[in-house]
């Protein structure tokens, strides 16, 4: 093999294998990483897997060949990383996970995980609901817009939410359908819900985009989003905060994409051989209408 020019010099090279660019959230995530790498003087080798795990694995293999100092990636799915991570370990390249964890039992395969907990996000949405409707009389009819069927955020956000509302029988999920994380599908599905469900009190959307699409469907049906139907969603993109500020959404659970600075810190530490905690959760808040108004001016994504 060749000398691995990339990692040879003084500059620290980081190979980062991104999932894709499937949403504005993801783009913000990518941008944050690229910008903070530049700011930290780290040479970044970036690759985009277009939502395919195979591509990510291939990219990681290529980083091993290129002998980068550190590898970081946001796993497309949690499972299936053992082989390639073992190769990285054999090549003595430390690995950092971002955004999503992997479920490998062998924790020595990666140094640390930096990101959010989707189950916790679902749970937060559920808790808000429990509080908001805690005193309400009668059943609460909930409709749910799920993410892409089979994807980790969809599975986890559904689970976290369901866990919290399960104990209280008055919360009823009357319809739950996939909106594939997009505005267009969110709108289309909500249109159908509005016709097939006689009574909808709450909409829980697995991401903001679907909620934004659903708002339009609700308005077209002559109802008032945020009032006739309360809406809670996850992510905290700018448009959603705007809608929140306008009173069209009632609550947003943040899922923070701006991992860049934290990641670069970790990269430096890991490269220097320092010990790092095995799990670091990004700081994530929740927004209500007031905090949304405050946060809006600085929102970049």
């Amino acid at each position: 093999g060749g000398g691995g020019g990339a990692g040879g010099g003084g500059a620290l090279t980081l190979g980062f294998a991104q999932v894709g660019a499937e949403s504005g959230w993801r783009t913000a995530n990518t941008k944050s990483i690229q910008e903070s790498a530049k700011a930290a003087g780290i040479e970044l080798k970036f690759s985009d897997a277009q939502q395919k795990q195979e591509n990510q694995i291939a990219a990681i293999r290529s980083y091993i060949q290129q002998k980068v100092k550190v590898i970081a990636f946001s796993p497309v799915v949690e499972s299936g990383w053992d082989t390639v991570l073992k190769e990285a370990k054999t090549a003595n390249i430390p690995v950092i996970l971002t955004d999503r964890a992997v479920d490998s039992p062998d924790k020595s395969l990666y140094k640390t995980f930096l990101g959010s907990d989707f189950v916790a996000e679902g749970r937060k949405a559920g808790e808000w609901l429990a509080e908001e409707f805690g005193s309400a009389a009668g059943d609460v009819s909930i409709v749910e817009l799920q993410g892409t069927t089979g994807s980790a955020p969809a599975n986890d956000r559904k689970k976290g939410f369901a866990d919290v509302i399960a104990p209280n029988p008055k919360f009823k999920v009357v319809a739950s359908q996939t909106g594939e994380f997009t505005r267009a599908k969110g709108k289309e599905v909500m249109e159908a819900f509005l016709k097939s469900q006689p009574k909808i009190d709450v909409l829980y959307a697995h991401n903001d985009d679907m909620a934004l699409g659903a708002i339009e469907a609700i308005e077209a049906a002559g109802k008032v989003p945020g009032k006739d139907i309360k809406i809670v969603s996850v992510d905290g993109v700018r448009d959603a905060l705007q809608a929140l500020a306008d009173g069209k959404i009632n609550h947003v659970v943040e899922c923070n994409p701006l991992l860049g600075p934290q990641l670069m810190d970790l990269v430096k530490k890991v490269a220097a051989g320092e010990q790092v905690p095995p799990r670091i959760e990004t700081t994530e808040t929740e927004f209500d209408q007031a905090s949304a108004k405050a946060a809006l001016p600085q929102r970049q994504y």
Binding site: K45, F46, G80, K86
Partner: protein, 327 residues
Amino acid sequence: MTTLDRIKGYRPRQRHLPILATMAMLIGAYVYGASSYTAFGSGQVVLDLFINNAFLLVVAVGMTFVILTGGIDLSVGSVVALSTVVSADLLQNQGWSVIAVIPAVLAIGAALGFGMGVLIQVFEIQPFIATLIGMFFARGLCYTISTQAYSIDDPTVASLAQTQIPLGGELHISIGVVVALVVVAAAAYLLYGTRFGRTVYAIGGNPKSALLMGLDVGRTRISVYTLSGFCSALGGLLLVLYKSSGDPLNGVGLELTAIAAVVIGGTLLTGGSGYVLGTVLGIMVLGIIQTLITFDGTLNSWWTSIITGALLFAFIVLQRLVGRRAT
């Protein structure tokens, strides 16, 4: 009185040209990569192409048969996913052994392929729709088994997955590569050296004629889809080895990649002309494009798509022009 020796004359073997052109360009791309990025020159980069694409290669080989008959198989991605999910489920939840799982999964894939073949042959449903139904069906089955991806911690799978077959130096390949190469060799033999293979070409050339020539068009066509289902299942098993997991979202869009690889390899989508070797090259083309982009490492997501498209364009057009020039 009449002798037709006059009609004899040399015609260049036009059908080999696309393959030669593709091979030349692959070498060109490799030389370019090696001169631009140091680590690219190591032979392992080439071997990694095989390691990363072994499962795709197997799937594409099945697809080659289908396309040679003038058909298309959109179900392969879903069947791959189904195979991984079924394997994971049987190994993790039902406690089956690897030895039992392999034939079961292969049988499921072949059975699905057979079903689609019957729809196409017996009920005369266009291959595009019949296999699209198969695509929905297999993906649907995945979701009914599990909406979650899960890991397989079976020790046999793990050891198979992590076995590296050394080739001297620092070079190594995986078991998947060996399987894929065996499949390629078997397919090449089938196509070149057996009546079944020749019937496949005949059907692609002109199905009506093939029928009138007394060939068993029906059985061959059904076999071809069965074979493709089988290859997809085998590809799924290799993917299980590759990732040690089952995931219902595996292989979304894989059918297009496989079709593209076959067609870039010089096989006509209308059937009747093409080689398995071309398919191997087609996969290499797609793989090397991706590798070049990863080595570059400075492109953001959308530039990745755009440059992928541009490189694809360059390959295809050059292939076309080289092929034409040599005629």
